[in-house]
Protein backbone atom coordinates (compact mmCIF):
# COMPACT_ATOMS: atom_id res chain seq x y z
CA UNK A 1 0.00 0.00 0.00
CA UNK A 2 1.42 3.36 -1.00
CA UNK A 3 1.67 6.12 1.47
CA UNK A 4 -0.58 9.00 0.61
CA UNK A 5 0.31 12.46 1.73
CA UNK A 6 -2.69 14.61 2.36
CA UNK A 7 -2.19 17.66 0.19
CA UNK A 8 -4.10 20.72 1.24
CA UNK A 9 -6.90 21.66 -1.11
CA UNK A 10 -6.33 25.10 -2.62
CA UNK A 11 -8.77 27.76 -3.83
CA UNK A 12 -7.77 28.84 -7.33
CA UNK A 13 -9.32 31.80 -9.17
CA UNK A 14 -11.19 31.14 -12.44
CA UNK A 15 -9.82 34.36 -13.91
CA UNK A 16 -6.27 35.70 -13.66
CA UNK A 17 -7.47 39.07 -12.34
CA UNK A 18 -8.76 37.61 -9.07
CA UNK A 19 -6.55 37.01 -6.03
CA UNK A 20 -7.53 34.36 -3.53
CA UNK A 21 -5.76 34.88 -0.17
CA UNK A 22 -4.20 31.79 1.42
CA UNK A 23 -6.20 32.27 4.59
CA UNK A 24 -9.75 31.07 3.90
CA UNK A 25 -11.05 33.75 6.27
CA UNK A 26 -9.85 36.44 3.84
CA UNK A 27 -12.17 37.24 0.95
CA UNK A 28 -10.98 36.88 -2.67
CA UNK A 29 -10.80 40.16 -4.55
CA UNK A 30 -10.31 41.49 -8.08
CA UNK A 31 -7.19 43.39 -8.98
CA UNK A 32 -5.93 45.52 -11.80
CA UNK A 33 -2.87 47.27 -13.17
CA UNK A 34 -2.67 51.05 -13.22
CA UNK A 35 -0.66 52.81 -15.92
CA UNK A 36 1.74 55.21 -14.22
CA UNK A 37 1.72 57.50 -17.25
CA UNK A 38 -2.00 58.03 -17.95
CA UNK A 39 -3.68 56.47 -14.92
CA UNK A 40 -5.81 53.99 -16.84
CA UNK A 41 -6.63 50.81 -14.93
CA UNK A 42 -6.84 47.39 -16.61
CA UNK A 43 -7.99 44.06 -15.25
CA UNK A 44 -5.10 41.83 -14.21
CA UNK A 45 -1.54 41.97 -15.46
CA UNK A 46 -0.35 44.21 -18.29
CA UNK A 47 2.91 44.52 -20.22
CA UNK A 48 1.91 47.83 -21.80
CA UNK A 49 -0.88 50.37 -21.62
CA UNK A 50 -3.59 49.75 -24.20
CA UNK A 51 -4.51 53.42 -24.10
CA UNK A 52 -1.19 55.30 -24.25
CA UNK A 53 1.36 52.58 -25.07
CA UNK A 54 3.46 53.18 -21.95
CA UNK A 55 5.61 50.15 -21.06
CA UNK A 56 6.86 51.22 -17.63
CA UNK A 57 5.99 48.85 -14.78
CA UNK A 58 2.37 49.08 -13.66
CA UNK A 59 1.07 49.69 -10.17
CA UNK A 60 -1.14 46.92 -8.81
CA UNK A 61 -4.46 48.16 -7.48
CA UNK A 62 -7.08 46.30 -5.49
CA UNK A 63 -10.50 46.80 -7.10
CA UNK A 64 -13.67 47.51 -5.18
CA UNK A 65 -16.11 44.66 -4.57
CA UNK A 66 -18.99 47.04 -5.19
CA UNK A 67 -20.05 48.57 -8.48
CA UNK A 68 -23.10 49.29 -10.59
CA UNK A 69 -24.77 47.74 -13.59
CA UNK A 70 -23.92 49.54 -16.83
CA UNK A 71 -25.80 47.24 -19.24
CA UNK A 72 -27.00 43.64 -19.25
CA UNK A 73 -28.68 40.91 -21.24
CA UNK A 74 -30.73 38.00 -19.99
CA UNK A 75 -29.25 34.88 -21.52
CA UNK A 76 -31.73 32.05 -22.06
CA UNK A 77 -29.79 29.92 -24.54
CA UNK A 78 -26.35 28.97 -23.24
CA UNK A 79 -23.66 26.32 -23.04
CA UNK A 80 -24.49 22.94 -21.50
CA UNK A 81 -24.10 22.83 -17.74
CA UNK A 82 -25.15 26.39 -17.03
CA UNK A 83 -28.46 27.16 -15.46
CA UNK A 84 -30.45 29.64 -17.56
CA UNK A 85 -31.88 32.21 -17.72
CA UNK A 86 -29.26 34.40 -16.07
CA UNK A 87 -28.52 38.11 -16.07
CA UNK A 88 -25.18 38.74 -17.82
CA UNK A 89 -24.06 42.26 -17.00
CA UNK A 90 -21.26 44.72 -17.56
CA UNK A 91 -20.46 46.17 -14.15
CA UNK A 92 -18.70 49.51 -13.71
CA UNK A 93 -16.35 49.59 -10.73
CA UNK A 94 -15.59 52.91 -9.02
CA UNK A 95 -11.92 52.69 -10.10
CA UNK A 96 -13.02 53.33 -13.70
CA UNK A 97 -12.74 49.76 -14.94
CA UNK A 98 -15.54 47.45 -16.04
CA UNK A 99 -15.97 43.74 -15.34
CA UNK A 100 -18.28 41.11 -16.77
CA UNK A 101 -20.40 39.14 -14.39
CA UNK A 102 -23.68 37.43 -13.70
CA UNK A 103 -26.00 39.31 -11.38
CA UNK A 104 -28.36 37.58 -8.96
CA UNK A 105 -31.29 39.05 -7.09
CA UNK A 106 -33.12 40.31 -10.18
CA UNK A 107 -36.09 38.58 -11.82
CA UNK A 108 -34.74 37.34 -15.17
CA UNK A 109 -38.29 37.02 -16.53
CA UNK A 110 -38.86 40.79 -16.38
CA UNK A 111 -35.78 42.62 -17.68
CA UNK A 112 -36.19 46.33 -17.25
CA UNK A 113 -34.41 49.66 -17.86
CA UNK A 114 -34.81 50.11 -14.07
CA UNK A 115 -31.81 47.82 -13.73
CA UNK A 116 -29.42 50.40 -15.17
CA UNK A 117 -27.23 51.79 -12.42
CA UNK A 118 -28.30 49.22 -9.81
CA UNK A 119 -25.70 48.80 -7.09
CA UNK A 120 -24.18 45.33 -6.93
CA UNK A 121 -21.70 43.60 -4.62
CA UNK A 122 -19.29 40.86 -5.60
CA UNK A 123 -19.28 37.48 -3.90
CA UNK A 124 -17.40 34.34 -4.80
CA UNK A 125 -18.47 30.80 -5.28
CA UNK A 126 -16.83 27.51 -6.11
CA UNK A 127 -17.84 26.76 -9.72
CA UNK A 128 -15.90 23.52 -10.28
CA UNK A 129 -13.01 21.36 -9.16
CA UNK A 130 -9.82 21.45 -11.21
CA UNK A 131 -7.72 18.43 -12.26
CA UNK A 132 -5.64 18.55 -9.08
CA UNK A 133 -8.77 18.54 -6.93
CA UNK A 134 -8.60 22.23 -6.02
CA UNK A 135 -11.66 24.45 -5.82
CA UNK A 136 -12.06 26.89 -8.71
CA UNK A 137 -13.48 30.20 -7.49
CA UNK A 138 -15.50 32.62 -9.63
CA UNK A 139 -16.92 36.06 -9.00
CA UNK A 140 -20.66 36.67 -9.06
CA UNK A 141 -22.65 39.74 -8.14
CA UNK A 142 -25.79 40.37 -6.11
CA UNK A 143 -28.02 43.40 -6.06
CA UNK A 144 -27.68 45.45 -2.89
CA UNK A 145 -30.19 48.26 -3.44
Amino acid sequence: MTQETATEKKRNPLVPFMRVPEDPKDEPYLWGSKCKACGTIFLGERVACGKCGNTDPFEEVRLSDEGEIYVFSVVHQTVPGLEAPYVAAIIDLPQGVAVRGNVYGLDPTSPSPDWFGKKVKMYTEKVRTDREGNDVIAAKFKVID
Binding site: L14, V15, Y70, S73, D92, A98
Partner: protein
Protein backbone atom coordinates in the same frame (compact mmCIF):
# COMPACT_ATOMS: atom_id res chain seq x y z
CA UNK B 1 -3.87 54.31 -55.35
CA UNK B 2 -5.23 53.18 -58.71
CA UNK B 3 -8.93 52.82 -59.53
CA UNK B 4 -10.27 49.29 -59.07
CA UNK B 5 -13.35 47.80 -60.72
CA UNK B 6 -15.47 44.81 -59.78
CA UNK B 7 -16.01 42.93 -63.02
CA UNK B 8 -17.20 39.56 -61.77
CA UNK B 9 -19.52 38.82 -58.83
CA UNK B 10 -21.21 35.63 -57.72
CA UNK B 11 -22.46 33.72 -54.71
CA UNK B 12 -24.12 30.39 -54.10
CA UNK B 13 -27.38 30.11 -52.19
CA UNK B 14 -26.51 30.02 -48.51
CA UNK B 15 -27.81 27.04 -46.59
CA UNK B 16 -26.65 23.64 -45.47
CA UNK B 17 -24.72 21.38 -47.81
CA UNK B 18 -23.84 18.25 -45.86
CA UNK B 19 -23.05 16.39 -49.12
CA UNK B 20 -20.50 18.89 -50.44
CA UNK B 21 -17.20 20.02 -48.95
CA UNK B 22 -16.21 23.65 -48.52
CA UNK B 23 -13.68 23.55 -51.39
CA UNK B 24 -16.53 22.59 -53.71
CA UNK B 25 -18.76 25.40 -52.40
CA UNK B 26 -15.94 27.94 -52.85
CA UNK B 27 -15.13 26.56 -56.32
CA UNK B 28 -18.74 26.89 -57.44
CA UNK B 29 -18.79 30.53 -56.34
CA UNK B 30 -15.40 31.28 -57.91
CA UNK B 31 -16.17 29.68 -61.27
CA UNK B 32 -19.40 31.68 -61.38
CA UNK B 33 -17.54 34.93 -60.70
CA UNK B 34 -14.95 34.16 -63.41
CA UNK B 35 -17.72 33.43 -65.93
CA UNK B 36 -19.49 36.62 -64.89
CA UNK B 37 -16.28 38.56 -65.57
CA UNK B 38 -15.77 36.77 -68.87
CA UNK B 39 -12.33 35.42 -67.98
CA UNK B 40 -10.77 32.07 -67.07
CA UNK B 41 -8.61 31.25 -64.06
CA UNK B 42 -5.57 31.76 -66.33
CA UNK B 43 -6.12 35.54 -66.34
CA UNK B 44 -6.14 35.76 -62.52
CA UNK B 45 -2.84 37.09 -61.12
CA UNK B 46 -3.46 36.83 -57.38
CA UNK B 47 -6.08 35.10 -55.24
CA UNK B 48 -7.15 35.90 -51.69
CA UNK B 49 -9.23 33.36 -49.78
CA UNK B 50 -11.30 34.28 -46.73
CA UNK B 51 -12.28 31.38 -44.51
CA UNK B 52 -12.32 31.48 -40.72
CA UNK B 53 -12.13 27.83 -39.76
CA UNK B 54 -9.82 26.52 -42.47
CA UNK B 55 -7.33 29.31 -43.04
CA UNK B 56 -4.86 27.24 -41.03
CA UNK B 57 -5.33 24.40 -43.52
CA UNK B 58 -4.42 26.12 -46.79
CA UNK B 59 -7.98 26.29 -48.05
CA UNK B 60 -7.05 28.92 -50.67
CA UNK B 61 -4.48 26.64 -52.28
CA UNK B 62 -6.92 23.70 -52.09
CA UNK B 63 -9.48 25.78 -53.99
CA UNK B 64 -6.87 26.65 -56.65
CA UNK B 65 -6.08 22.94 -57.10
CA UNK B 66 -9.78 22.48 -57.86
CA UNK B 67 -10.36 25.47 -60.17
CA UNK B 68 -6.93 25.81 -61.79
CA UNK B 69 -3.52 25.45 -60.15
CA UNK B 70 -1.76 28.23 -62.03
CA UNK B 71 0.94 28.82 -59.44
CA UNK B 72 -0.09 32.42 -58.62
CA UNK B 73 0.25 33.95 -55.14
CA UNK B 74 -2.51 32.77 -52.80
CA UNK B 75 -3.17 34.35 -49.40
CA UNK B 76 -5.37 32.87 -46.66
CA UNK B 77 -7.21 35.44 -44.54
CA UNK B 78 -8.97 35.14 -41.18
CA UNK B 79 -10.60 38.11 -39.43
CA UNK B 80 -13.59 36.73 -37.49
CA UNK B 81 -16.91 37.65 -39.16
CA UNK B 82 -15.03 40.23 -41.27
CA UNK B 83 -12.95 37.45 -42.87
CA UNK B 84 -14.57 37.64 -46.32
CA UNK B 85 -14.60 41.42 -46.52
CA UNK B 86 -10.95 41.53 -45.40
CA UNK B 87 -10.10 39.06 -48.18
CA UNK B 88 -11.94 41.32 -50.64
CA UNK B 89 -9.99 44.31 -49.32
CA UNK B 90 -6.65 42.50 -49.68
CA UNK B 91 -7.54 41.66 -53.30
CA UNK B 92 -8.55 45.31 -53.79
CA UNK B 93 -5.23 46.52 -52.36
CA UNK B 94 -3.31 44.13 -54.60
CA UNK B 95 -4.82 45.85 -57.64
CA UNK B 96 -5.02 49.40 -56.23
CA UNK B 97 -1.31 49.29 -55.44
CA UNK B 98 -0.55 48.64 -59.09
CA UNK B 99 1.13 45.31 -58.34
CA UNK B 100 -1.54 43.26 -60.17
CA UNK B 101 -4.24 43.86 -62.78
CA UNK B 102 -6.59 40.96 -61.99
CA UNK B 103 -7.39 39.61 -58.52
CA UNK B 104 -9.88 37.02 -57.33
CA UNK B 105 -11.39 37.22 -53.83
CA UNK B 106 -13.25 34.19 -52.50
CA UNK B 107 -15.10 33.93 -49.19
CA UNK B 108 -16.29 30.55 -47.98
CA UNK B 109 -17.37 28.72 -44.84
CA UNK B 110 -18.96 25.45 -43.89
CA UNK B 111 -20.47 25.57 -40.41
CA UNK B 112 -23.27 23.06 -40.54
CA UNK B 113 -25.35 23.58 -37.41
CA UNK B 114 -22.51 25.02 -35.37
CA UNK B 115 -23.68 27.95 -33.25
CA UNK B 116 -22.07 31.31 -32.77
CA UNK B 117 -20.36 30.81 -29.46
CA UNK B 118 -17.87 32.97 -27.67
CA UNK B 119 -14.12 32.75 -27.85
CA UNK B 120 -11.06 33.44 -25.74
CA UNK B 121 -9.81 31.06 -23.11
CA UNK B 122 -9.44 31.72 -19.41
CA UNK B 123 -5.72 32.34 -19.86
CA UNK B 124 -5.88 34.48 -22.96
CA UNK B 125 -4.79 37.80 -21.46
CA UNK B 126 -6.59 40.02 -23.90
CA UNK B 127 -9.93 38.31 -23.38
CA UNK B 128 -9.68 37.10 -19.81
CA UNK B 129 -12.72 39.04 -18.81
CA UNK B 130 -15.15 36.23 -18.16
CA UNK B 131 -16.64 36.54 -14.71
CA UNK B 132 -18.32 33.16 -15.00
CA UNK B 133 -18.29 30.97 -18.09
CA UNK B 134 -21.17 31.92 -20.29
CA UNK B 135 -21.18 35.67 -19.79
CA UNK B 136 -19.32 36.22 -23.05
CA UNK B 137 -21.43 34.18 -25.48
CA UNK B 138 -22.27 36.01 -28.69
CA UNK B 139 -26.05 36.29 -28.16
CA UNK B 140 -25.47 37.84 -24.73
CA UNK B 141 -22.83 40.20 -26.08
CA UNK B 142 -25.15 41.46 -28.83
CA UNK B 143 -28.01 41.60 -26.34
CA UNK B 144 -25.87 44.01 -24.32
CA UNK B 145 -25.11 46.03 -27.47
CA UNK B 146 -28.82 46.65 -27.91
CA UNK B 147 -29.43 47.25 -24.21
CA UNK B 148 -26.73 49.94 -24.24
CA UNK B 149 -28.66 51.67 -27.04
CA UNK B 150 -31.81 51.39 -24.89
CA UNK B 151 -29.96 52.99 -22.01
CA UNK B 152 -28.59 55.85 -24.08
CA UNK B 153 -31.56 56.61 -26.33
CA UNK B 154 -34.63 54.88 -24.91
CA UNK B 155 -34.85 52.36 -27.74
CA UNK B 156 -37.43 49.61 -27.12
CA UNK B 157 -37.37 45.82 -27.50
CA UNK B 158 -40.17 46.21 -30.06
CA UNK B 159 -38.05 48.52 -32.23
CA UNK B 160 -35.30 45.89 -32.32
CA UNK B 161 -37.91 43.25 -33.22
CA UNK B 162 -39.05 45.36 -36.18
CA UNK B 163 -35.59 44.91 -37.72
CA UNK B 164 -36.24 41.17 -37.96
CA UNK B 165 -39.70 41.79 -39.44
CA UNK B 166 -38.21 44.04 -42.15
CA UNK B 167 -35.27 41.80 -43.04
CA UNK B 168 -37.34 38.63 -43.23
CA UNK B 169 -39.80 40.50 -45.45
CA UNK B 170 -36.92 41.45 -47.76
CA UNK B 171 -35.53 37.91 -47.64
CA UNK B 172 -38.68 36.46 -49.18
CA UNK B 173 -37.52 37.90 -52.52
CA UNK B 174 -33.94 36.63 -52.30
CA UNK B 175 -33.43 33.16 -53.82
CA UNK B 176 -29.87 33.12 -52.41
CA UNK B 177 -31.09 33.41 -48.80
CA UNK B 178 -31.13 30.45 -46.45
CA UNK B 179 -34.65 31.39 -45.29
CA UNK B 180 -37.40 33.02 -47.34
CA UNK B 181 -40.04 33.38 -44.70
CA UNK B 182 -41.85 36.40 -43.34
CA UNK B 183 -42.04 36.80 -39.58
CA UNK B 184 -44.77 39.21 -38.42
CA UNK B 185 -43.99 41.35 -35.36
CA UNK B 186 -46.10 39.21 -33.06
CA UNK B 187 -44.21 36.07 -34.10
CA UNK B 188 -40.85 37.75 -33.58
CA UNK B 189 -41.77 39.02 -30.11
CA UNK B 190 -43.27 35.67 -29.07
CA UNK B 191 -40.46 33.50 -30.42
CA UNK B 192 -38.17 31.71 -27.99
CA UNK B 193 -35.96 34.17 -26.11
CA UNK B 194 -32.26 33.65 -26.84
CA UNK B 195 -30.65 36.61 -25.04
CA UNK B 196 -32.86 39.56 -24.23
CA UNK B 197 -33.92 41.50 -26.20
CA UNK B 198 -33.09 39.15 -29.11
CA UNK B 199 -35.53 36.30 -29.70
CA UNK B 200 -34.82 33.38 -32.04
CA UNK B 201 -35.97 35.28 -35.15
CA UNK B 202 -33.68 38.16 -34.23
CA UNK B 203 -30.56 35.95 -34.46
CA UNK B 204 -28.96 35.03 -37.78
CA UNK B 205 -28.78 31.37 -38.74
CA UNK B 206 -25.36 29.83 -39.31
CA UNK B 207 -24.69 27.54 -42.24
CA UNK B 208 -22.65 27.00 -45.36
CA UNK B 209 -21.93 29.38 -48.20
CA UNK B 210 -19.47 30.93 -50.62
CA UNK B 211 -19.14 34.09 -52.68
CA UNK B 212 -16.50 35.44 -55.04
CA UNK B 213 -15.53 38.62 -56.85
CA UNK B 214 -13.13 39.44 -59.68
CA UNK B 215 -11.35 42.78 -59.32
CA UNK B 216 -9.47 44.53 -62.13
CA UNK B 217 -7.47 47.66 -62.79
CA UNK B 218 -9.34 50.28 -64.83
CA UNK B 219 -7.37 49.53 -68.01
CA UNK B 220 -7.98 45.80 -67.72
CA UNK B 221 -11.67 46.23 -66.83
CA UNK B 222 -12.32 48.16 -70.04
CA UNK B 223 -11.32 45.08 -72.02
CA UNK B 224 -14.10 43.05 -70.44
CA UNK B 225 -16.99 45.38 -69.70
CA UNK B 226 -18.50 48.68 -70.71
CA UNK B 227 -20.19 49.05 -67.31
CA UNK B 228 -17.74 48.28 -64.52
CA UNK B 229 -18.68 48.76 -60.87
CA UNK B 230 -16.09 50.84 -59.02
CA UNK B 231 -14.72 50.43 -55.52
CA UNK B 232 -15.02 54.00 -54.21
CA UNK B 233 -13.77 53.21 -50.71
CA UNK B 234 -12.24 50.25 -48.91
CA UNK B 235 -11.67 50.72 -45.20
CA UNK B 236 -10.60 48.43 -42.37
CA UNK B 237 -10.47 49.50 -38.72
CA UNK B 238 -9.77 47.86 -35.38
CA UNK B 239 -10.77 48.92 -31.86
CA UNK B 240 -9.36 52.14 -30.54
CA UNK B 241 -8.98 52.17 -26.75
CA UNK B 242 -12.35 52.46 -25.05
CA UNK B 243 -13.26 52.75 -21.41
CA UNK B 244 -15.03 49.38 -21.10
CA UNK B 245 -13.32 47.46 -23.90
CA UNK B 246 -12.27 44.59 -23.87
CA UNK B 247 -14.63 43.74 -20.99
CA UNK B 248 -17.53 44.91 -23.13
CA UNK B 249 -17.22 44.52 -26.87
CA UNK B 250 -17.80 47.80 -28.66
CA UNK B 251 -19.13 47.49 -32.20
CA UNK B 252 -19.88 51.21 -32.38
CA UNK B 253 -16.62 53.14 -32.20
CA UNK B 254 -14.70 51.24 -34.87
CA UNK B 255 -17.74 51.32 -37.18
CA UNK B 256 -18.03 55.10 -36.76
CA UNK B 257 -14.32 55.48 -37.45
CA UNK B 258 -14.60 53.28 -40.55
CA UNK B 259 -17.68 55.16 -41.79
CA UNK B 260 -15.98 58.55 -41.47
CA UNK B 261 -12.95 57.28 -43.38
CA UNK B 262 -15.07 55.60 -46.06
CA UNK B 263 -17.24 58.66 -46.75
CA UNK B 264 -14.11 60.78 -46.98
CA UNK B 265 -12.34 58.32 -49.29
CA UNK B 266 -15.39 58.09 -51.57
CA UNK B 267 -15.99 61.83 -51.46
CA UNK B 268 -19.66 61.32 -50.57
CA UNK B 269 -21.88 61.52 -47.52
CA UNK B 270 -24.43 59.08 -46.11
CA UNK B 271 -27.20 61.08 -47.85
CA UNK B 272 -25.72 60.06 -51.23
CA UNK B 273 -26.13 56.31 -50.62
CA UNK B 274 -28.76 54.40 -52.57
CA UNK B 275 -28.64 51.40 -50.22
CA UNK B 276 -26.74 49.66 -47.44
CA UNK B 277 -25.92 46.02 -46.66
CA UNK B 278 -24.83 45.95 -43.02
CA UNK B 279 -23.86 43.37 -40.43
CA UNK B 280 -27.14 42.26 -38.82
CA UNK B 281 -25.81 39.15 -37.06
CA UNK B 282 -28.47 40.05 -34.49
CA UNK B 283 -31.38 42.48 -34.86
CA UNK B 284 -29.88 44.69 -32.15
CA UNK B 285 -26.70 45.10 -34.22
CA UNK B 286 -28.53 46.44 -37.28
CA UNK B 287 -30.30 49.16 -35.35
CA UNK B 288 -27.18 50.54 -33.64
CA UNK B 289 -25.40 50.71 -36.99
CA UNK B 290 -28.02 53.15 -38.36
CA UNK B 291 -26.46 55.60 -35.93
CA UNK B 292 -22.90 54.44 -36.51
CA UNK B 293 -23.10 54.71 -40.31
CA UNK B 294 -24.76 58.11 -39.83
CA UNK B 295 -27.90 57.11 -41.74
CA UNK B 296 -29.71 59.30 -39.18
CA UNK B 297 -28.83 61.74 -36.43
CA UNK B 298 -27.33 60.10 -33.36
CA UNK B 299 -29.96 58.30 -31.31
CA UNK B 300 -32.59 58.43 -34.08
CA UNK B 301 -32.19 54.80 -35.19
CA UNK B 302 -35.41 53.68 -33.52
CA UNK B 303 -37.38 56.28 -35.45
CA UNK B 304 -35.80 55.09 -38.71
CA UNK B 305 -37.16 51.57 -38.30
CA UNK B 306 -40.52 52.83 -36.96
CA UNK B 307 -41.05 54.99 -40.03
CA UNK B 308 -39.98 52.33 -42.53
CA UNK B 309 -37.16 54.42 -43.91
CA UNK B 310 -34.83 51.42 -44.15
CA UNK B 311 -37.27 49.17 -46.04
CA UNK B 312 -36.96 48.66 -49.79
CA UNK B 313 -38.94 51.61 -51.15
CA UNK B 314 -37.96 53.74 -48.15
CA UNK B 315 -35.47 56.61 -47.98
CA UNK B 316 -32.39 54.43 -47.42
CA UNK B 317 -33.02 50.69 -47.88
CA UNK B 318 -30.93 48.55 -45.53
CA UNK B 319 -30.35 44.84 -46.15
CA UNK B 320 -32.52 44.49 -49.25
CA UNK B 321 -31.01 40.99 -49.42
CA UNK B 322 -32.83 40.05 -46.22
CA UNK B 323 -29.61 40.55 -44.28
CA UNK B 324 -27.80 37.87 -42.37
CA UNK B 325 -31.08 37.24 -40.52
CA UNK B 326 -32.52 35.74 -43.74
CA UNK B 327 -29.43 34.94 -45.79
CA UNK B 328 -27.53 33.19 -43.04
CA UNK B 329 -24.00 33.94 -41.89
CA UNK B 330 -21.36 31.48 -43.12
CA UNK B 331 -18.59 33.56 -41.54
CA UNK B 332 -15.95 33.73 -44.28
CA UNK B 333 -18.51 34.06 -47.09
CA UNK B 334 -20.54 36.89 -45.56
CA UNK B 335 -18.27 39.83 -46.36
CA UNK B 336 -17.85 38.95 -50.02
CA UNK B 337 -21.54 38.13 -50.41
CA UNK B 338 -22.77 41.51 -49.25
CA UNK B 339 -20.53 43.24 -51.80
CA UNK B 340 -21.86 40.86 -54.48
CA UNK B 341 -25.40 41.84 -53.43
CA UNK B 342 -24.66 45.55 -53.91
CA UNK B 343 -23.04 44.87 -57.30
CA UNK B 344 -26.18 43.05 -58.44
CA UNK B 345 -28.36 45.99 -57.42
CA UNK B 346 -26.09 48.50 -59.17
CA UNK B 347 -26.33 46.40 -62.33
CA UNK B 348 -30.10 46.04 -61.97
CA UNK B 349 -29.83 42.26 -61.57
CA UNK B 350 -31.39 41.89 -58.10
CA UNK B 351 -34.77 40.60 -59.27
CA UNK B 352 -37.74 40.96 -56.92
CA UNK B 353 -35.70 42.73 -54.24
CA UNK B 354 -34.14 45.29 -56.62
CA UNK B 355 -33.57 48.74 -55.14
CA UNK B 356 -34.73 50.97 -57.99
CA UNK B 357 -32.13 53.15 -59.66
CA UNK B 358 -29.39 52.18 -57.22
CA UNK B 359 -26.19 54.13 -57.90
CA UNK B 360 -24.05 53.87 -54.76
CA UNK B 361 -24.07 51.16 -52.10
CA UNK B 362 -22.29 50.62 -48.81
CA UNK B 363 -21.34 47.19 -47.47
CA UNK B 364 -20.42 46.93 -43.77
CA UNK B 365 -19.14 44.00 -41.74
CA UNK B 366 -18.02 43.62 -38.13
CA UNK B 367 -15.80 40.83 -36.89
CA UNK B 368 -16.01 40.80 -33.13
CA UNK B 369 -12.78 41.36 -31.33
CA UNK B 370 -12.91 43.57 -33.45
CA UNK B 371 -12.47 44.30 -37.16
CA UNK B 372 -14.75 46.55 -39.18
CA UNK B 373 -14.73 46.78 -42.96
CA UNK B 374 -16.67 49.24 -45.05
CA UNK B 375 -16.74 49.17 -48.83
CA UNK B 376 -18.51 51.79 -50.88
CA UNK B 377 -19.17 50.67 -54.44
CA UNK B 378 -20.72 52.69 -57.23
CA UNK B 379 -21.63 52.62 -60.91
Amino acid sequence: MKDVAIVGANMIKFGRYPDKDVVRLASDAAIGALKDAGISINEVEVMVSGNLYQSNAMIGQRIMKEIGATGIPVVNVANACATGSTAFREAYLAVASGAYDVALAIGSEQMGKMGLLGFGGERDISYSTEGVMGTGLMPGVFGQTGVEHMRKYGTTAEQFAKIAVKNHKHGVHNPYAQYQKETPLEDVLNARMIAWPNTLFMCCPTGDGAAAAVLMSAEKARQYTSAPIWVAASVLTSDPWQERNPTMFDVNTLTRNAAKQAYEEAGIGPEDLSQVELHDCFATAELVHYDNLMLCDEGEAGRLIDEGETSVGGRIPVNASGGLLSKGHPLGATGVANIVEIVWHLRGQAGGRQVQNSKVGLAHVIGLGSACTIHIVKK
